[in-house]
């Protein structure tokens, strides 16, 4: 069966062939063949699109971040199907986008919008096509990540903190609560490099977006020190809290509402904003430049922003949508639990994740890989 395998002539031939292959590889490397499609032609982003259904919607979002009943209602109303995929981190979203998959509507957070927009990856949105977005707060007429406000439409505001079981743990209100002894083995950090390193920076008194090597090393150390007590890294804070695996979870404010909707004893679940600093952000609707059905996407966005629908959505996911009208629903939710509130003032004064630029990102990236691998 394996005769002649290691005959001398074979060896030489294979060596030659291997050598040729390697030479080809190094040749490619040496020539510095460039990256394809990183920043595409601006023309594609300037397509004129009307808000009418032009096919099924390929929808790409965090899981459990939009009321499923609304999606079904949209399918029914416009006779199209919504093909849903989920990502579990912004990086995961970027990886899928980068590998050429085509989506119609995505939900990047602000700093990622900045990146995508600068690389001409987002379709220009004509505000007239989304009339329900006209009630948006003034802050979003000129957000830092989309100065002309013509490539995204705000979806929700969020703040990062710690979700915890009131009946199991006593919190001191610090990021270090994740390492509390009482929660040993039932604690999670978010599986997101920005959130973890950002929190690490805040704990050490640095700016949220600090990219200086020494500061990042300290943030990395904070996470490494926590690692032995963690049960895992996960962005599925809702799932982990609901099934009891987590008593303390690095997570987002609105998810507490979602959790409470699913458990037998909602009073046991709470959220705390940490004293060292609170990362804030905006998640936005965006349409990739290579979307196949942008018309349906625009229709969808307008549909979700219809005041009644938006209210229903807020009740499901627990995050404020920055529009006059639906915000009353959120205010009602927050009345009993001010901890989960995120206001425009918070946004204006608080720390938001910024686009770190290639070099900064590389520093954070390396630190993150080391945290995961250790």
């Amino acid at each position: 069966m394996t005769r002649n395998l290691f005959d001398e002539p074979m060896r030489r031939r294979e060596l030659l062939q291997g050598g040729a292959g390697l030479a080809l590889a190094l040749g490619l490397a040496g020539c510095g063949v460039g990256e394809e499609g990183a920043t595409s032609d601006k023309k594609q982003t300037e397509r004129v699109v009307k808000a009418e259904p032009d096919g099924d919607l390929v929808y790409f979002n965090w899981s459990q971040y939009m009321e499923p009943k609304l999606i079904k209602a949209f399918e029914k109303r416009y006779g199209v199907k919504v093909r849903e995929s989920n990502f579990d981190s912004m990086q995961g979203m970027m990886a899928k986008l980068r590998s050429g998959n085509r989506y119609d509507v995505i939900f990047p957070s602000s700093e990622w919008v900045d990146r995508l927009r600068k690389a001409n990856q987002l379709l220009r949105i004509d505000p007239e096509q989304v009339p329900n977005a006209s009630t948006v707060y003034d802050y979003f007429a000129k957000p830092w990540y989309d100065p002309q406000a013509d490539h995204t439409i705000p979806y929700a505001l969020y703040a990062t903190g710690i979700i915890y079981r009131k009946d199991k743990v006593e919190m001191t209100g610090s990021w270090n609560d994740i390492g509390l002894d009482t929660a040993r083995g039932r604690a999670y950090l978010l599986d997101d490099y920005q959130e973890v390193l950002g929190a690490g920076n805040l704990v050490n008194g640095a700016e949220l977006n600090e990219t200086d090597e020494a500061a990042v090393a300290k943030a990395k150390q904070w996470a490494l020190d926590l690692k032995p007590t963690l049960r895992g890294f996960s962005t599925e804070d809702v799932t982990n809290m609901v099934n009891g695996n987590a008593w303390v979870h690095h997570g987002w404010n609105g998810d507490v509402v979602n959790i409470r909707n699913q458990v037998k004893r909602p009073e046991n679940y709470s959220f705390v904003k940490c004293s060292e600093g609170i990362p804030l952000g905006t998640d936005c609707f965006a349409i990739p430049a290579n979307a196949e059905h942008p018309g349906t996407a625009l229709t969808f966005i307008n549909f979700i922003l219809d005041p009644e629908n938006a209210s229903k959505n807020i009740e499901y996911m627990g995050y404020p949508m920055p529009y006059e009208g639906p915000d009353a629903t959120f205010a009602a939710l927050v009345k009993d639990d001010p901890e989960i509130d995120v206001t425009i003032e918070d946004l204006e004064n608080g720390q938001q994740f910024a686009n770190l630029g290639a070099a900064g990102r590389r520093t954070w990236d390396r630190a993150w890989t080391e945290i995961k691998a250790a």
Binding site: T2, L5, E35, G185, P228, G232, A373
Partner: protein, 280 residues
């Protein structure tokens, strides 16, 4: 080269060409990319950045590699320990139901690997059936531990050990065992001096078929493991779908393949030698 050879030689072309284009050439691309650097939006730019390789040897990654090899070795050992007796019994004592029994052994492996692993996660979880049956105050933490991952790997790859060993045992002439018993007396002696050496090639094949894929596995670690059970497969997967560092991921892939290639070559040589000796 005879006529027959020439005729048959042509048959090598379709399959060979396909493998060349879709298997060999992608390796070249992986190697080329491993010298690149991440692009602006996450892809890769070719160039000459050998630091991807030096970074792979950074002490912080050594535990990951060591762990992967360690888990894989444990997996092979357990597969052998658990699987050999099964193959032995079925081959030698299965009688007419041999085929049915071996089919039963193999059947679970046609449930999707993910579903099987997730089923174990459900069985062993804190609220799962096993803990429920034990009824203790504090549920035993089976999951998110290294043994859970190894268990998952064993369960995932057991068939790859059992089948070659069974084939070797089945091929063995039972008269050999009879003769061995006469010579050596005890069952154990017979096994050690007769059965084991005869089936060794099968064991070796099983070892290779389990060890190599297990080193690169990431599903078990992801579904059953915790933050401390990161394997090199998880690291590579993370570079492509988490961190945006395809070149580093490619470098890790190349290194892993190089490491495995050594074992592959050793195995092929041993198999070739055994085949030569068998026909000598």
């Amino acid at each position: 080269m005879t006529d027959a050879d020439r005729f048959a030689g042509r048959f090598l072309i379709p399959g060979g060409l396909w493998l060349l284009i879709f298997f060999a050439i992608p390796f070249v691309i992986v190697i080329a990319l491993s010298f690149g650097t991440p692009g602006e939006l996450g892809g890769a730019v070719y160039g000459w950045y050998p630091e991807n390789y030096s970074r792979a040897f950074d002490p912080i990654f050594v535990p990951v590699l060591a762990r992967s090899v360690g888990y894989a070795v444990a997996t092979v050992a357990l597969c052998l320990l658990l699987g050999y007796p099964v193959a032995y019994y079925i081959a030698l004592f299965g009688g007419r139901r041999k085929h049915l029994l071996i089919a039963l052994v193999v059947l679970p492996f046609f449930v999707n690997y993910l579903v099987r692993t997730y089923a174990w996660a459900a069985l062993l979880s804190d609220e799962g059936i096993v803990n429920g049956a034990l009824g203790l105050n504090e549920p035993i933490r089976f999951l998110n531990t290294p043994w859970a991952v190894i268990g998952g790997l064993v369960y995932g790859y057991l068939a790859f050990m059992i089948l070659p060993v069974y084939a070797a045992l089945d091929r063995m002439d039972p008269a050999l065992i009879e003769a061995g018993k006469d010579l050596y007396g005890s069952n154990w002696s017979t096994f050690w001096h007769v059965t084991w050496p005869t089936t060794f090639q099968g064991v070796l094949a099983g070892t290779v078929l389990v060890f190599l894929p297990a080193v690169g596995d990431f599903v078990s670690a992801q579904l059953l493991g915790g933050p401390g059970t990161y394997m090199v497969g998880n690291l590579i997967q993370q570079q492509f779908f988490g961190a945006e560092n395809w070149p580093f991921g490619a470098a890790l892939t190349v290194l892993m393949m190089a490491f495995l290639f050594v074992w592959m070559v050793l195995y092929l040589r041993s198999a070739a030698r055994a085949a030569r000796e068998a026909t000598a």
